[in-house]
Amino acid sequence: MEKFTQHQGLVVPMDRPNVDTDAIIPKQYLKSVKRAGFGPNLFDDWRYLDPGDPAIDNASRRLNPDFLLNQPAYQGGTVLLGRENFGCGSSREHAVWALTDYGFRVVIAPSFADIFFNNSFKSGLLPITLSETEVEQLFEEERQVAGYALEVDLQAETVTTPGGMVFSFQMDEFRKYRLLNGLDDIGLTLQHQDEIKGYEADHRAAAPWLF
């Protein structure tokens, strides 16, 4: 797991609900057997005017000038501001890999789809849930302030605006601990090998048809 402690970055406002993982990284790019290299195809269908394919060089494709990521004001953005049910749909972790490969470190939304939320932590992408009102306020401020950046502190569980306003969010303790320290999830679980073996022996005795 990638470590995450604090981050300050430019906000990219994606003002639509139900942004699904098919939109974040379209299916044709899931054929890769690697974890890296998805960034250039993040939001591919919205970002380019020509159809994309792993066999096509992205440099040869026309960019959609209306799309956020192609606008000069949002170059270098690292904090994605979204609406409800962000990351819904397919379980593809490639969606998280595409966001982090592009450079995003934080996604703020009023709600996330469960699997996307879970997947985010594995690559050091911090999903932050704020209330609808708070998210609306951030969208409103972003519209008014050029180069709008937010400061995120995981230890303190806060999001701070350029004007000094502080929003609090909540994070499960165990998850926070793993993220702050960038711990290897599997390594942590394997520390409990004896307990797993003990459970497994009991389980096998109770339900032998499963083994």
């Binding site: 699904d20 054929k31 049910n85 379980s91 593809r92 699997i115 999830d185 797993i196 389980h203 048809w209």
Partner: protein
Amino acid sequence: MAGKTLYDKLWDAHIVRTEEDGSALLYIDRQLLHEVTSPQAFEGLRLAGRTPWRVGANLAVPDHNVPTTQREEGITDPVARIQVETLDRNADEFGITEFKMGDIRQGIVHVIGPEQGATLPGMTIVCGDSHTSTHGALGALAFGIGTSEVEHVLAPQCLVQKKSKSMLVRIKGAVGTGVTGKDIVLAVIGKIGTAGGTGYAIEFAGEAIENLSVEGRMTVCNMAIEGGARAGMVAVDQKTIDYVKNGTQGRAFAPTEVHWQEAVAAWQDLHSDADAVFDAVVELEGAEIAPQVTWGTSPEMVVAIDATVPDPAAAADEVKRSGMEKALAYMGLEAGTPITAIPVDKVFVGSCTNSRIEDLRAAAAVARGRTRAENVSQVLIVPGSGLIKEQAEREGLDKIFIEAGFEWRDPGCSMCLAMNADRLEPGERCASTSNRNFESRQGLNSRTHLVSPAMAVAAAVSGHFADVRSLEGGA
């Protein structure tokens, strides 16, 4: 103390240890693997010098990328071929059972699990695919995971999970003829919304669910995720037990005679206690559910076949309104248009939602003696597994489809997500039995309307959406 929900029982029976913040280390009985979300997991395992904890708990099958026609030529897309070959190599290297492309048992991962008895009541089941919720239809706790978690399950056979809240979705009374599991679950999603089940595990219950076959229940649980819930489930009853026992093809992974009675005894408890308390309860009247058709780019954008395309002006709030406007523009539809007046270009019957033998029988019942409408350029019928294909051919269903001008294909995910060659062209409109109507899901700028198999064929032979209840064979 209140009784336990089915979800409580499944959860409690699999806890290895509990952390201070309440998250649990959960033991996983079965992991299903496919080619798209597993290569990076195997690579991670290899890099860390780890090996699978319990090889026999895993079952692998290629499905997303496989061609559904001209298989003798192999996979012509070189990138897709590498991915399928990578799965073959990983399964061989680690000794994991795999149904490779030429194997009659190959099929969609969520179809072959129950078909083989690899999905059993009382199990915890995961797969790197969101539609893993399908398996909950047999009284199992099944949910989709990401690739890092696939690797995690391969290594110590466990996952760190936070327990979800529980939701009971009760369908009161029976549904009318011509109304299927697909229509029930679409109606539920229309009611709770695509995020309505987020943070919940849903148990589907009530007379209409009890009346469904186990396959019908799979369709319902399959789409729990489209309502935001990672897991959907149905209590075990005699139908579940008969399903496991009486597989027409033989369920190789199901309990043998030695443990059968013992297993059945344990499964009897897999239901919510009468005094169990749910965090949320949603009720629908079965009699009020008509065949459903989605009109937009999210499964919650759904109406009955006799309705019209909704008007964004009537939306509850600004975010909803603009979402509806975007969807209508994308779908090329106008508010107020009767659903039955919308013509379709192509039809797809298949996917982990609706590609089982009963789905094919329902499709064939409507197709019998009819032919593809002139304006419909292609109708794909894609069975969920090689065994289902074989069964359908034994019953002569393939002939009905071919005579109707439909294409009878080999098993795979196909046009549900268009990772292989089966896809829509930009702007094409499809009546599809799959589970997602997202933008470009079935091909760049494609337009998807989700329906049941019978409704898909009704559209195929009518050239536009039609109420299957008014067609002979459809009700």
